[in-house]
């Protein structure tokens, strides 16, 4: 049951100037999947989607805010702005936006004539109600709440213009607003009870939530009155599909078998070996859409022994043989990363030289760090304490191939004397272990648009746990100069300056040996090849079925 992370925060950077985005706003079709793209699209038909992610507990992504919610909400909810493949912000429910000189006030002009599927018109009051809903503690929003952290108030300028007033300039605001966790819902629907809204959220999207059979499926039907596709969509008017059955199939082998047999049309969380098998199968194709934000990486807890010593951190990284494992375990579907950021982030900075497999150097470093003796089992010790690395592994978040990779890291680092203790556990226990600081190494994926994810993950303020015990800076990086660099980068809008600041920050993190990058957050979809026109939204790589049709 690979379940991708539950925390996804949102403050985004990489905000291109609104005017630039506007000029490019005319339809830029995405590269999409499918064979007969020259044929004219067929209307109608039912598509069955099988998700390996956990079934959401609430279909309103304002509540909580995790990836499974984003996946399905993309079909029935829409955001103020979106992002194209070039990384530019493009219009969606907002047609234009202007930032004040001091960066503390943003005016968004809303699209005309858009109605929620319950008949409520989309206007400034609706957006105001949504911001209020996300910021209301009773909603229990975490992702959306964090993303709007700098939004102090909203103001209705006119029925079609809403003003956001910020407490600090936020160069990440626009990218935040591209994410499904900040989707705009019907204000009338939000007034219903939380339980009702969780089961039947109402938006402006191309599909409508019709029925939710728990542990089985969500039925989505076409919104016949749909008028508001994002600027990069391939067509106008209602969606082609008349219905989507959104199923939950936690077992990866079953999911693939169902796809092969044609019982489902699209699956997510495809396992590496089935991706390779699918390439050899005529009836199947792949859509690869790595998630933005951080790369998948192992965080070394620098807040306590043994990894509070940089030499020991470097020794661990030098002793871990990662490349051969990735090659075999992922069958060539994943590329090794040497960066803290996803390869889809333009500002990602790589430094392969730091992560070579050099056991000899690792041994020298450990000698220098004082781990000079070895015990009966061959593990290094210092003052009678074994060189132990406690590594809690979330079986919900790490796919089997990744867990095997950890086993290989355990085996190769053992050669230089590390005793890596892999502790598989369910998500709740995993968070509890982190909250208790009961870990030395951990892999925690993190999805978020833009390099500002670095501020969430490596600012020293993120070491302080939230009341729930959660904290994002799992490497416990505590460097004042890094904090200052990241803080500044989040506020400047000059592209060159931001880029330089983020490079400095990433260098500090990589060269301090706080993390061992592995690969991008894998996000592979497999589909029957008669599914035409499926694309992943460039914001957080969720699939959008608006342009999709069935060639059968």
């Amino acid at each position: 049951m690979p379940v991708r992370p539950v925390i996804r925060s949102t403050i985004i950077a990489f905000a291109t100037a609104g005017a630039l985005a506007l000029s490019l706003a005319a339809c830029t079709p995405q590269s999409s999947t499918g064979a007969g793209s020259s044929d004219s699209p067929v209307r109608g038909g039912t598509l069955t989607y099988a998700s390996g992610d956990a079934e959401p507990t609430c279909l309103d992504p304002h509540v909580g805010g995790n990836y499974p919610q984003a996946l399905v909400a993309t079909q029935y909810l829409e955001e103020l702005v979106s992002k194209n493949t070039k990384g530019q912000i493009i219009p969606w429910l907002a047609t234009k936006w202007t930032e004040s000189k001091d960066g503390l006030s943003w005016d968004f002009t809303l699209r005309d004539g858009v109605k929620f599927t319950d008949g409520t018109p989309l206007d400034a009051a609706a957006v105001k109600a949504n911001v209020a809903h996300i910021q209301d503690p009773a909603t229990g929003s975490s992702t959306g709440y964090l993303a709007l952290g700098k939004v102090a108030s909203t103001e209705i300028v006119s029925p079609r213009v809403i003003r956001f007033t910020l407490s600090q300039p936020d160069s990440a605001l626009l990218e935040s607003l591209t994410q499904p966790w900040l989707a705009i819902e019907s204000p009338a629907a939000l007034k219903r009870s939380k339980d009702v809204n969780c089961a039947h959220p109402v938006g402006t999207g191309p599909f409508i939530v019709k029925q939710w059979k728990k542990q089985d499926s969500i039925t989505l039907v076409r919104n016949a009155g749909y008028t508001s596709p994002p600027a990069d969509a391939a067509h106008h008017g209602p969606a082609y599909l008349s219905k989507i059955v959104w199923r939950f199939i936690p077992d990866s082998a079953t999911r693939y078998a169902a796809l092969k047999a044609g019982e489902v049309d699209v699956i997510d969380n495809a396992q590496p070996d089935t991706i390779v098998a699918a390439h050899k199968t005529k009836s199947l194709t792949e859509l690869n859409a790595p998630r933005p934000g951080a790369s998948n990486r192992i965080e070394l807890n620098s807040g306590k022994a043994p990894f509070n010593d940089e030499k020991v951190r470097e020794a661990f990284i030098r002793a871990a043989d990662v490349n051969d494992g990735i090659k075999t375990l992922f069958f060539g579907t994943a590329k090794r990363s040497y960066s803290a950021l996803s390869s889809v982030e333009p500002l990602g900075y790589s430094e392969p030289g730091l992560f070579g497999y050099e056991p000899k150097k690792a041994n020298e470093l450990l000698d220098a760090a004082g781990y000079t003796t070895r015990d009966a089992d061959g593990y290094r010790t210092k003052d009678g304490t074994r060189l132990t690395v406690v590594f809690p592994v979330s079986t919900n978040q790490s796919i089997p191939a990744e867990q095997s990779l950890f086993e290989q890291i355990q085996a190769t680092t053992k050669k230089v004397g590390f005793d890596v203790k892999l502790e598989p556990m369910d998500l709740s226990s995993w968070y509890a272990a982190l909250a208790k600081n009961d870990y030395d190494a951990v892999s925690a994926p993190y999805t978020k648009v833009g390099p500002d994810v670095l501020r969430i993950l490596y600012d020293s303020a993120s070491i302080t746990p939230a009341p729930s015990g959660y904290f994002a800076n799992l490497a416990q990086v505590d460097i004042p100069s890094l904090d200052a660099t990241l803080e500044k980068a989040a506020q400047v809008s000059d592209v060159a300056e931001r880029s330089a600041l983020y490079e400095t920050a990433q260098k500090t993190i990589l060269e301090g040996y706080y993390i061992l990058p592995l690969y991008d957050q894998q996000n592979h979809y497999l589909l029957r090849n008669d599914v035409v026109g499926l694309r992943a939204l460039p914001s957080v790589s969720t699939p959008l079925f608006y342009d999709t049709w069935l060639d059968r």
Binding site: A253, G325, A401
Partner: protein, 272 residues
């Protein structure tokens, strides 16, 4: 069962005995049966099908599956035996209290057993593992706890039957103290049944522990344990059948062999 023993071909019994002997050899001296290191990885030689070099193929990390199966016999059988032992000890304790104690104690213990019976076994195991964290020890204890009520019921009824037997009543008349009666007369009578239960329980405990591994609650990696190997290999069922076939084969073979031996012994005990 008398009939079963005489009707069943001896060949099966011999095969089962050989399987058990081989398993015991693997458990006691795995290094002699398969000299390799079950944890040695060769990342670039992963997913190799069975060959002369690797009889059972290699797994996702290039480890030799045959070596892992052989070295896995120890921990896997230990889970089976230890879980059964925990179940039996608890079962005997509860069953004895109920079977030999005063009436109110019997009543209380019987109700307790009923409650445990009504509690889904897997849930008991699940809760226990979630509380104490996964691993061989916890899954062993969990399976043991889940089996205990079953044993307790049998022991209780055995105790009741033996207590009422004429020779025990004779001992009461002779003025033997209760503990003496328990140790010298009752326990030996119940022991035969218990021995049979052990052989039957071992196989089932292994199967149940493997199900816990499937749910991600079993042995910690990289321990070579059959259930964990089976559930890890399952992911690759489409491309590498040998990863599940061989661990599955030994689980079925060991559980089946233990059952056959248990049934045979049961037949002998009842027959005599």
């Amino acid at each position: 069962m008398r009939r079963a023993a005489s009707a069943g071909p001896r060949v099966a019994l011999v095969v089962c005995a050989l399987v058990v002997l081989w398993l015991l050899a693997c458990a006691v001296a795995p290094g002699l049966v398969a000299p390799g290191d079950p944890l040695a990885i060769h990342p670039l030689q992963g997913f190799e099908p069975p060959s002369l070099a690797h009889w059972f193929g290699t797994d996702e990390s290039g480890r030799d599956v045959f070596t892992r199966v052989v070295h896995g016999a120890g921990p896997s059988l230990l889970i089976g035996v230890a879980a059964t032992a925990i179940g039996i000890v608890l079962g005997v304790a509860l069953g004895t209290l109920a079977g030999l104690g005063p009436r109110w104690l019997d009543f209380g213990t019987s109700r307790l057993l009923e409650v445990l019976f009504a509690f889904p076994g897997l849930l008991l195991a699940l809760l226990f593992i979630v509380i104490y964290g996964p691993g061989i020890t916890t899954s062993t204890v969990a399976v043991g706890l889940a089996t205990a009520p079953g044993y307790a019921r049998i022991v209780r009824s055995q105790m009741l039957a033996v207590r009422g037997a004429p020779y025990i009543e004779a001992e009461v008349v002779l003025g033997r103290p209760p503990l003496w009666r328990f140790r010298r007369s009752i326990l030996p009578n119940v022991a035969g049944t218990l021995f049979v239960l052990v052989t039957l329980g071992v196989g089932q405990s292994i199967v149940w522990a493997s199900s816990l591994s499937y749910l991600g609650l079993g042995a910690k990696p990289p321990t070579a344990e059959w259930g964990a190997m089976l559930s890890a290999g399952r992911t690759y069922i489409d491309s590498a059948w040998w990863l599940t076939f061989f661990p599955g084969l030994v689980i079925v073979a060991s559980a089946a062999a233990a059952t056959v031996l248990g049934r045979t012994i049961q037949g002998r005990v009842r027959g005599s």
